[in-house]
C-alpha cells in the first residue's frame, strides 16, 4: 500500500505540474523564438601531449567543433605532417586534455573526467607499433582520493625500436561497472586514432 501511495504522490504531483505547464504554454505559447542548445557536454577536442627529458613536447590534436554535425574534423600534429614522430630509446610522459570549444569561453572537460575518475577509463590500442609500449601512470586516487584502478589521463609511452602504425584512444564511460578491463562494459565517449612513427 505504501508503494501505491508513493506512486500516487509521485504521479499526481507530476500531473499537476504538467497541468500548470499546460496552462503556461496556453498563455505564453506562440511567438517566442527558441534559443539554440548550449551543448556543454560535448567533447570537441582531444590533445595528447608527449614530453621527454630531451627535446620539445610532441602534440597531436583531434578537433571536431560541431559534434554529430557535417563539419569535417581536423588532425593536427606538432611535426607539421600527418603523424607524430617519436624517437627510439625514449620514454615519454603522455597527458590527455579534453575541451569543449563549441561554447565560449571553451570548457575544460578534463576536469569533468577527473571528478568522475571512478566511472571513466581511457584505453590505448596499438596497431603495427612493435617498438612502443604504453602503460598507465595514474590511478583513481590521484583525482578523487580513493580507488586503485587506472584512469589513463596520464600514461607512460616507451619507444624502443623503429616502427610505425596507429594508436586508437578510446574513452570508456562505465558508471557502476568499471573494473579496469579494456574495453570492458559501458559506452564510448571518444574514439580517435592517431598516426605514429618511431624513428
Amino acid at each position: 500500500m505504501n508503494m501505491i501511495n508513493k506512486l500516487m504522490i509521485h504521479w499526481l504531483s507530476r500531473f499537476f505540474a504538467g497541468s500548470t505547464i499546460l496552462a503556461a504554454v496556453l498563455l505564453v505559447s506562440c511567438g517566442d523564438d527558441p534559443q539554440p542548445a548550449n551543448e556543454e557536454e560535448l567533447i570537441t577536442t582531444l590533445t595528447v601531449t608527449l614530453t621527454s627529458s630531451g627535446g620539445a613536447p610532441i602534440t597531436m590534436t583531434f578537433k571536431d567543433l560541431d559534434g554529430s554535425g557535417p563539419g569535417t574534423p581536423t588532425y593536427t600534429y606538432s611535426s607539421g605532417g600527418n603523424e607524430a614522430i617519436l624517437l627510439t630509446s625514449t620514454t615519454y610522459a603522455a597527458s590527455l586534455t579534453l575541451l569543449n570549444e563549441s561554447v565560449t569561453p571553451s570548457e575544460n572537460i578534463t576536469t569533468e573526467i577527473e571528478e568522475e575518475a571512478d566511472e571513466h577509463l581511457f584505453c590505448f590500442q596499438k596497431t603495427g607499433l612493435s617498438g612502443l609500449s604504453i602503460n598507465y601512470a595514474d590511478t583513481e586516487a590521484d583525482y578523487i582520493g580513493s580507488g586503485v584502478l587506472p584512469v589513463g589521463l596520464t600514461t607512460t609511452w616507451t619507444a624502443t625500436s623503429e616502427s610505425s602504425g596507429t594508436v586508437k584512444i578510446t574513452l570508456r564511460h562505465q558508471p557502476g561497472t568499471k573494473n579496469g578491463d579494456c574495453p570492458g562494459s559501458g559506452d564510448t565517449d571518444i574514439e580517435v586514432t592517431f598516426n605514429i612513427v618511431i624513428q
Binding site: 500500500m1 508503494m3 501505491i4 501511495n5 506512486l7 500516487m8 504522490i9 509521485h10 504521479w11 499526481l12 507530476r14 500531473f15 504538467g18 497541468s19 505547464i21 499546460l22 504554454v25 496556453l26 505559447s29 506562440c30 523564438d33 527558441p34 534559443q35 539554440p36 542548445a37 548550449n38 551543448e39 556543454e40 557536454e41 567533447i43 570537441t44 582531444l46 583531434f62 571536431d64 560541431d66 559534434g67 554529430s68 554535425g69 557535417p70 563539419g71 569535417t72 574534423p73 569533468e112 571528478e115 568522475e116 578510446t170 564511460h173 558508471p175 561497472t177 574495453p183 562494459s185 559501458g186 559506452d187 564510448t188 565517449d189 571518444i190 574514439e191 580517435v192
Partner: protein
Amino acid sequence: MFGRIITIYLLLLRVLVIGQDTCSLTLAGSVVDSEGKALPGATVLLGKAGVISNERGVFNITTICPGIHRLQVKFVGFEDHVEEINLTENQKVVVIMTPSRIELQTVDVYGESLSTGMTNASLMLSETELDQLKGKSLGESLNALPGVTVLQSGPAVFKPVIHGLHSQRILILNNGIRQEGQQWGIEHAPEIDPFIASELTVVKGAEAVRYGADAMGGVIIVNPPKLHQTQRFGGEVNTGYLSNNRMGILSSAFEGGFKNAEDWNWRLQGTVKKGGDFSSPDYVLSNTGLEELNFSGALGFQQHDRGLEVYASSFNTEIGILRAAHTGNLTDLENSIKSNEPWFIAPFTYEIKNPKQTINHQLLKIRAYQNLAGIGRLNILYGGQFNQRKEFDVRRGGRNDRPALFMKLFSNVLDVSLDHEHTHHSGSLGLNANYKYNINETGETGIRPLIPDYTQFVTGIFVIEKMRKANWLLEAGARYDYQYLQVRTFTFTNTLVKPTFNFHYFSGSLGATYYFNSTIRLNNHLGISMRPPHISELYSEGLHHGTAAIEEGLMRPGGEVLTDQELIKNEISGKWISTLQVGSKKFSADFSFYANVIDNYVFLSPTGTRLTIRGYFPVWQYQQTNALLTGSDALFQWSVSQKIQYTGKLSYLYAKDLQRNDVLIFIPPINMENSITYCTDIGKVEDCFVKLAVPTYFEQHRAPITVYPSDIPDYTGDKIYDIAPAPPGYTLVNMEVGFKVPLKDHHLSISVAGENLTNKAYRNYMNRLRYFADDVGRNFIVRLRYNFHSHN
C-alpha cells in the same frame, strides 16, 4: 492529501463490494436474422439501458429491476424489433430480426455506425478477447488481430503496425479524439491506457476521408464503454500479476448517475502498474522495468435528441530501456550485437535507471450532439491534449537527471459533422481543424533537439455518402485539407531559420459491399490519400543512441537547412482492400487481400558515414521512393462441437521499394496462430475455459542485407541495410485457464495464463531488442476481475 484519496478509494471499493440490491436480474440474448446468422453491432435497448451486440450477435444487460420492460432492437437493413418482457428471473432471449423494405432508416441511437466506412475492412477485439489481454499495453493487445503487428523497442514499448505501416501513417482514435503524441519515433508507444477500452477496433483500409492524411494506413479505434443511463452505482475491479517481471496491476472503474438529474451520468476509472526487469530464459533484461499511473473521468448528459459528454484522462508512465541497448558508437554497437548476451546483466530490480523514458499525456474532450428535425444530427467535438516526453541517456558530469530529449506538444482538435439518414441513403458532412505547437526544452537538455520546434495548423472538409440497393451497399467520400507549417530550427552555426510551408492535399474513397446471402458478404474498399511529409521526415537532425546512427530529414541533407517547398513531394497512397466474410453458426471466416501503392514514400536510406570524435557514424537520410505493400490476412473460427472451438489466424505481407528495386525494413514476416478453446460450465462455475494457443513467426526472408557496424565505414552501396541478420522463425506455446464463480450477486472472474511455456529463447524480427538480447521468457499471468452492476 494523497493518503486521504486512497482511503476514500478503498472505502468506495468496500461500499460497492458489500452493497446489496434487488435490481440484479440479467437479460442475456442473441440477435439473429431469419436464417439464424448472428447480427453483430445491433443496438439493444431495454428501457433506458442500451448495449450493442458483440461479434457473435450476443448481448447482456445486467442489474435490471423485476417488472415489465420494453425491449427494442435495431439493426441496419432490418425492421425494428419491439417486445414487452416481464422479468421475474434471469432470462435468455433470441431476437429474430425481419429484413426491412425501407433500409438504412434505423441506424441511429449513437450514430456510431457512421464512424467508419461500412465497406471497409475492420476487425474488433471482443470483450472476451480483451479480458484475456488485460494488463498488456495497447500495442501488445492489438497484436492479437491478424494484419496488425507491433514494432517493439524492448519488452514494454509496443508500437502498432497495420499492414506494414506505422507512426505517422496510421491514426489512433482515443475515445473519438485523434491521439496527438510524439508518434513519429519508432521507440514511442501510444500514450493510452488499454483498461479504458471496452472495444478495440482496427480499420485496415485507408480512412483518410473521414480522419485526414494520417489515416492512410488504417485506424485504431479505442472506445470506452458508453455512459449508461442509470441511477445505479456500477463498476468493476481488475487486478493482475505477471510473474516474469513481477508486475502488479490494479485497475478499476465506477459509474453511476445523479438522483435529481436523471439525464446525467458519470464514470471514474484508474489504473496503476508497477513492474521490474523482465527476464529472457537465460538472463535478466536489465533496466526494463516500468511504472504507470492513469486515470480518467467522464460526465455525460443524454436526452432523446441531444447529448453532451465531458471526458478527461491522464496517462503517466516511466519505462526503462535495456541498458545494453544504449551505445556510444559503432564499436559499442558491434560488440553488443556480436555478443551472445547483453554486456550489462544485473540481478532483478524494480529500480529504473537511465536510459529511460518518462511520458505524461493529458486529454480533455468535450462532445455534444443535437438532432435537428428534418436535417440530421449535428456533432461537435473538441479535444485538447498535452504531451510531455522526456528521454534520459547515460550522461557525463552528473547530468543523468537532465533529460537528453525533452519535448512538449500541445494540440487542439475541433471536429464538426452533420450526419443525415434518409430512406435510401445516409451520409456525413464534416469539418476538422487541428492546431499543434511543439517545443523542445533545450535549456534543460543541453543537447541539440532531434526534431525542431514547430507550429502546425490543419483544416479539412469532407463528405461521405452511402446507399443501399438490392444486395449492394455502396459508399463514396472525398476530402480536402490545407496545412500550414512553421518550423523553427537551427543551422550548425546556430543561426535560427524559420521556414513556412503551405500544403494542399486531397483524399477520396470508394466502397462496395455485396451480400451473397445472409452468411456471405464481400467488402471492397479503395482509398486514395495524400500526405505531406511529417516534421520528423522533413527536419530530423541528430544522433540516435539506440541505433548509433545520424538521422537527417529530407530538408537537412548533409546538415544544411533547406527551405524551398518545391523540394517536398506529398506521399500519394492508393490502398485497395477486399474482404470476404463468412459467418454461420458452425463456421466463420474473414479473409482479406490488400494492395497498397505509395508514391513518394518517405523512408530512411543510408547515405554515407561521418567521422566524429566518437569515431565513424552511419548517416541515414530521409528520401522518397515508390513502394508497394501487398498481402493477405485470414481468420477462421470453427465450432467443432458446442464445447470445442478452433481459431486460426494467418498474415502475410510482401513489401518492395519499386523505384530502387530493394526491400523495406521492419516489415513483419509471415505469422500465424492456431488455438483451441474448450468451454464448459461445472455446476455454479460458469464460462470455464481452457485455451491452448500456438503462435508461429517465420523468418523474414525479405529482410535488408546485413552490414555489421564494423563494416559500415566501408559500405558504399545505396541499398538499405540492417545491422544484424533477421532472426530465425520460432513457435511458442501459450495456455490459459479461466472461469467465473458467483460472489454475492455478481461474478468473480479468475484466469491464469502461461506464456512461452517451453521457456524458448527467441528473437523477434520486429523487436529492436533482438540486436542485443533474447526476448522475454516464460511468464505466468494471474487475473482477477470483479464486476458489480455492470451494464454490458
